[in-house]
């Protein structure tokens, strides 16, 4: 019995961690290029509602995921045009994007409230995915595996490829990168689009995997946790992974303790625990003297004008 419980806890952790992980990895790339996009929550909501609607109409959750990435990337394009081309303030524009995403997803999602769609299926044979023991390895949603691959992929891209090096350079010194001859704005546009697509994919996890249905504000602030994760993980993909799974663990703990009838604390307190615990643990870990490799990209949030 307790082994079965353990397995369902592991499944729960991966489930709660994955959307945050994917969105945070996208935001990490954006911030590494020197742009602070606070619109993650809004883009996740746009992704969630798009994924659900497309899945309902086409019957294909996979198509829903793709549409979610596309829709969220399009919304991040608005942010990119405003902040990069028109050099609007990134913080204000990002907040506006979240407010916009919340509103537009509620509007577009209104007809879909109360109906369900097919869950995004497993990529492994049913025998493996539903085996009471082996499901701990094979029973996850494809997005869980994708999240792990993405963690490695983002690390590899930033640390080992030329394009990744240039992207980091643009975030470290936009003027210097420009004077050497790198297209600062183009690289930031692409980074923002990637961040948008990842936020959308993370959002689709809520409406196609966790609960195959749509409700207003479905993502419940996880976009903000993703942004906080990037900062407290000191812009390192492996730490983002650890932080996301820590968050998932505390959330699963909370749900399990509620299910077990543990009610020594107010439920509101328990619900706030995952957010609190994640931030406290990461803040403590990342406190203290930081080396140059773990500090914020030097140009984070600073508008760049290709000037004299």
């Amino acid at each position: 019995m307790s082994a079965m419980l353990l397995i369902s806890v592991v499944m729960g952790i991966a489930g709660a961690a994955t959307p945050i992980l994917i969105a945070a990895l996208g935001e990490l790339v954006v911030e590494k290029s020197g742009v602070l996009n606070l619109g993650v929550e809004g883009m996740m909501l746009i992704g969630a509602v798009t994924a659900f609607a497309v899945s309902v109409h086409t019957g294909s959750p996979a198509l829903g995921c793709l549409a979610a990435m596309l829709a969220a990337a399009l919304s991040s394009l608005i942010f990119a045009v405003l902040t990069l081309t028109l050099t609007a303030n990134q913080v204000a524009t990002g907040l506006a994007l979240t407010i916009f995403g919340t509103g537009v997803s509620a509007l577009a999602g209104a007809p879909y409230v109360g109906i369900t769609t097919t869950r995004l299926g497993s990529i492994f044979p049913q025998a493996l995915a539903e085996d009471p023991w082996l499901r701990v390895l094979f029973g996850h949603s494809p997005l869980v595996y994708l999240g792990l691959i993405l963690t490695f992929g983002v690390w590899w891209f930033l640390a080992r490829t030329r394009t990744g090096l240039v992207l980091r350079a643009v975030g470290e010194g936009d003027e210097a990168a420009h004077s050497i001859g790198y297209p600062v704005l183009k690289i930031r546009y692409l980074a923002i689009l990637f961040g948008g697509a990842m936020a959308g994919l993370g959002g689709s996890y809520f409406s196609l995997v966790l609960t195959p249905m749509w409700a207003e504000r479905l993502t419940a602030g996880r976009g903000w946790i993703a942004i906080a994760l990037v900062v407290f993980a000191s812009w390192r993909p492996a730490w983002v992974l650890a932080g996301a799974y820590l968050f998932g663990a505390v959330i699963t703990l909370e749900l399990q303790s509620k299910a077990a009838g543990f009610n020594a604390f107010a439920p509101e307190f328990l619900s706030s625990l995952p957010y609190l615990a994640t931030i406290v643990v990461l803040a403590v870990i990342s406190a203290g003297r930081r080396s140059a490799k773990t500090r914020a990209p030097a140009c984070l949030g600073r508008p760049f004008r290709a000037s004299a």
């Binding site: 090096l165 350079a169 210097a176 990168a177 001859g181 140059a292 004299a308």
Partner: protein, 524 residues
């Protein structure tokens, strides 16, 4: 002097680079106005001029960062248009920037790779870098993070990056303004070798002594126009300076053997943590300055100058230990305003954003630092009339070129803002004045004015501390001199007893490439 083979061959070949009629306009100003000159193969050619003479714009046009509005560029005799730095590099033009285009949080190798258009895989690149380092005798570890390097070492990264492209023309923009005399010598040796191998060098500077030592010809710019071309070897520094400023140069009047008064500033055992992220810890600094005396502190930037200024001015109080006395009264633990009231004025290195608020008017900026001693904010209310009068007084006394006390600080040129900031402090008649890099990036005319103002203030009995990396300046001003290296201050010595070379050796690099000053033993 017998002509060398190089000089005989020259006329037969078209110049490596030839400019004619280059004009570049910005809103409200013509940065380059019909500029023309040429650089032969293997020639070291100087581009001279004051700040704002149009040197930087011209260089950006050659390197493709900006495009000329009119005029023609010829490369080995053929007309070319250079649309981007990449196009410039394809022609064989390499550039070492004044403000290095380096990325602090990355390694030397990563920085070099970023500067190349098609870098080979890391291992091959590293081999190529090591080969260049060996050939030109440049000391540098490819795997070090840039923020741990001294300025001289950083410049070597830029030079290696440029040399890896086998350039035909190397542009050096104010390369020595941050180097010690020994580093300058080493740089010159490298440059002479590069030129001997046939690469032309375009050398931008306003340091005339260096140009005489290095360059074979010079083009002098003033107000965006070519005003003269000359052979620096047959000119004097003074004659070239006068061509640069278009007038005669005033000598700074020194008062040698002036009487010195009692000790007005005494510092003992001063320690302070480094400013994040890359600061240097200040370790057990001690010195004293008498009234009427100018005390010079030399050192390569980043060796604790910033921390020293902040600890003296009172901007940094936490974790600062040691004794600071003004006129024999301890001011430790007192904040900036309290220290100002006791007569300590400080002028930090950064004019825009530290010494002055760019978006505020000059009279508002006057209030910010003179409010206590000049009572410009009595009872918590601003006395705008008095502030305006004070600011106007500063503008007049220091011949600041501004539209008036209402002009925004950021509308002033660097030299004029520095004159205003210095004047704002000096007219408060401080007992002690602490100044960091008083003439950094300031043109020769304004620099002379500022130095004279400091000498006059000392003559009135104030104690002055000048922190500078410009040794010419310190030798012109100071009565005694000490060197700050890695947060330690060497013992002070009278100016008459030291040479530029000794001071240069003490300056070393960030991490003590040179012998440590004696105080380090005391701290250890």
């Amino acid at each position: 002097m017998a002509p060398t083979l190089k000089e005989i061959l020259r006329p037969a070949m078209p110049p490596r680079l030839e400019l004619s009629g280059i004009t570049k306009r910005f809103p409200g100003v013509v940065a380059n106005d019909g500029v023309g000159f040429s650089v032969a193969a293997g020639e070291i050619h100087a581009l001279l001029g004051e700040n704002g003479a149009g040197k930087s714009t011209l260089v950006k046009i050659i390197y493709g960062v900006q495009q000329a509005d009119e005029g023609e560029l010829r490369w080995n005799g053929a007309p070319v248009s250079i649309e981007s730095p990449r196009a410039a590099r394809r022609l064989g033009i390499a550039m070492v920037f004044q403000h290095f285009s380096l990325f602090e949080a990355m390694t030397v190798l990563e920085n070099i790779a970023l500067g190349m258009d098609d870098p080979p895989p890391q291992r091959e690149l590293e081999a190529a870098v090591r080969a260049v380092l060996d050939t030109y005798d440049l000391g540098l570890d490819p795997h070090r993070d840039v923020f741990t390097l001294s300025v001289g070492e950083r410049q070597r990264i830029e030079i290696v990056r440029a040399l890896l492209q086998n350039p035909k023309l190397l542009i050096m923009d104010e390369p020595t303004s941050v180097l010690t005399p020994q580093e300058v010598e080493q740089l010159f040796a490298t440059l002479r070798r590069i030129a001997a191998e046939g690469c032309s060098i375009l050398y931008i500077s306003h340091k005339l002594g260096e140009i005489q030592a290095l360059c074979e010809s010079a083009t002098i710019l003033r107000g965006g126009k070519v005003v003269a071309t000359c052979d620096p070897r047959s000119e004097t520094a003074r004659s070239m300076a006068e061509m640069m400023i278009g007038g005669s140069l005033k000598d700074v009047a020194r008062r040698d053997g002036a009487p010195v008064g009692p000790v007005r500033l005494a510092v003992d055992g001063l320690s302070a943590p480094g400013e994040p992220p890359f600061g240097t810890t200040l370790k057990d600094v001690g010195f004293s300055v008498r009234g009427g005396e100018i005390f010079g502190i030399a050192g390569v930037a980043g060796n604790g100058q910033n921390e020293l200024l902040l600890a003296l001015s009172g901007e940094r109080l936490e974790e600062v230990t040691g004794d600071i006395r003004i006129d024999e009264t301890c001011v430790c633990g007192l904040g900036v305003s309290a220290r100002r009231r006791r007569g300590l004025a400080a002028v930090p290195e950064e004019r825009n954003g530290h010494a002055a608020v760019p978006a505020l008017s000059l009279s508002e900026n006057a209030i910010l630092s003179a409010r206590t001693r000049k009572r410009l904010a009595a009872g918590g209310l601003l006395r705008l009339g008095a502030a305006k009068a004070y600011a106007s007084g500063v503008i007049e006394a220091f011949s600041v070129r501004a539209t008036g006390a209402a002009a925004k600080a950021r509308s002033l040129s660097g030299g004029n803002l520095q004159k205003f900031v210095m004047g704002r402090e000096i007219l408060q008649d401080p007992a002690v004045l602490v100044v960091s890099q008083p003439t950094w990036g300031v043109d020769a005319g304004a620099a002379g004015f500022i130095r004279q103002a400091m000498l006059d203030l000392a003559a009135r009995g104030a104690a002055i501390v000048v922190i500078s990396q410009d040794l010419d300046e310190l030798f012109e001003l100071a009565d005694r001199i000490a060197v700050i290296n890695d947060g330690h201050l060497s013992p002070a010595r009278p100016l008459a007893e030291v040479t530029v070379d000794e001071i240069g050796l003490l300056m070393g690099g960030i991490h003590g490439a040179a012998p440590r000053p004696a105080t380090s033993e005391r701290a250890a």
